[in-house]
Subunit: 305 residues, 2 copies
Amino acid sequence: MALLVIGSVAFDTVRTPYGSAREVLGGSATYCGVAASYFTPVRMIAVVGEDFGPEAMGPLRERGIDVSGIEVRRGGRTFRWSGEYSEDLNSRKTLNTELNVFQDFRPKIAPGDVGARFLFLGNIDPDLQQRALQQVKPGFVACDTMNFWIEGKNTSLKRLLAGVHGLVINDSEVRLLAGEINTVVAARRLLSLGLGFLVVKRGEYGAALFSGGHYFAVPAYPVERPVDPTGAGDSFAGGFMGHLARRGEVSGTALREAMIYGSVMASFCVEDFSLNHLRGLSMESIEGRAGELRDFLRVEGPANR
Amino acid sequence: MALLVIGSVAFDTVRTPYGSAREVLGGSATYCGVAASYFTPVRMIAVVGEDFGPEAMGPLRERGIDVSGIEVRRGGRTFRWSGEYSEDLNSRKTLNTELNVFQDFRPKIAPGDVGARFLFLGNIDPDLQQRALQQVKPGFVACDTMNFWIEGKNTSLKRLLAGVHGLVINDSEVRLLAGEINTVVAARRLLSLGLGFLVVKRGEYGAALFSGGHYFAVPAYPVERPVDPTGAGDSFAGGFMGHLARRGEVSGTALREAMIYGSVMASFCVEDFSLNHLRGLSMESIEGRAGELRDFLRVEGPANR
């Protein structure tokens, strides 16, 4: 089944200990959409400026993504972010943010989007996420958020969380949102807001899934040459949502499998700048890493495949 | 089969956000030995001072540990350590270290120790670890170490590693020892020194096992009320080695199971100060958490047990 992704499309300028990239394609919806596109048809709703030319749209079209929901704002300039990563890639400093057309982004929901079976609400103002949710009335919806909204729009965010099935966020965001330093207690507190499940992304340590009484942890795929972590969390969300949409169901097993595909897509993302690696994968390489991750979880040792 | 543990016995003074404890039983061999004692007969080789009375020895005897290898140095004072933990318990500051009798500890290997099937060399001077290893000539041996020896006795340590089966150390120590910031590359480099396997302890993120081409990751058991992380890594080593000794073999499956028991014992350790919780467990509670951890790893979802 198709996946609808609402979020940001950006031009990123990134410096890591392994090199740098200038004004390259990025944004939460971009990474999520491209990662998900290996599993299911994807449609993106976003906004870009007039500077977002056909070559920028290339990787999205190439992956068969429906880009008709990406509004090109006449005379506007695309959202820009630039940042720099620490030596071990575990922390980053934002050097500059230019919201540009993203500042007054109002997701335009088309009639065909109403009743979408699978929706992912990328990290935007929770009031806009809420409005999109009410318009789309999806079968299944998960969302992301960030510190800025947790601190600035806490009430809106909590209202949103009561109406979504799942939340996919970082370790530190879980703590901040729950106001609790222990992740386990924090997770339980967030689930009590009405969430069906919570995915906690832990960077190089993988991710954990909390849902009513259940817990599942997937390691990060062991990448030997990480180059740029930008978009890893969004790629995780893309692999995760993409697999659920492909399965067309959201059972406990499907969620656990989705965690594996999330981890796989994040691992490909970090192996190069921008979508350079993520955009040109084969299903064989994706399923290969998924199989390896399954083996890493098998107490009895690797399966003979 | 019995497990021989060589390492430190100490009195710890600890402050955490959840309380404090003064001059309580601690030390690497103590935590490791007590944790292992649930799985297999344990004999400890260590040194204490005259201030180490029968009440201090109590928890060890109570767990059926053979303490005849613990030398009580006449007129000496037991090793003391004190430290303070950060708000999230993820980092600690050493406030004071008094080596006392531990300063000139020379493990005394008894004739009955020679040819021990399972040996764990706690974190002591690698030259002493090497000497003990040569005297015991064990069937299977794993060791621990720390930054102090990695920096101060690197050559001795690398010689030791070529002669042991496994190394059980922290994340940051792996990076320091390998001189490589990427854990995956660092692990491969350490394995190439002649190690059979490497266990990387990651605190609240669990632990990873690297061995010739294989990888396995176990999450930390989700503890809601961690109180004091002191000894968690040593308790992990105890559960890990204890299970291997119980199985009496070191297959790939046994190593993976051992990772689970390591994680279980670490989780009990952190739930109270000193050995307060670790010393009074039932096998039922241990196997209960081990079963839960197996479920946390099962992609198909919890087994119906």
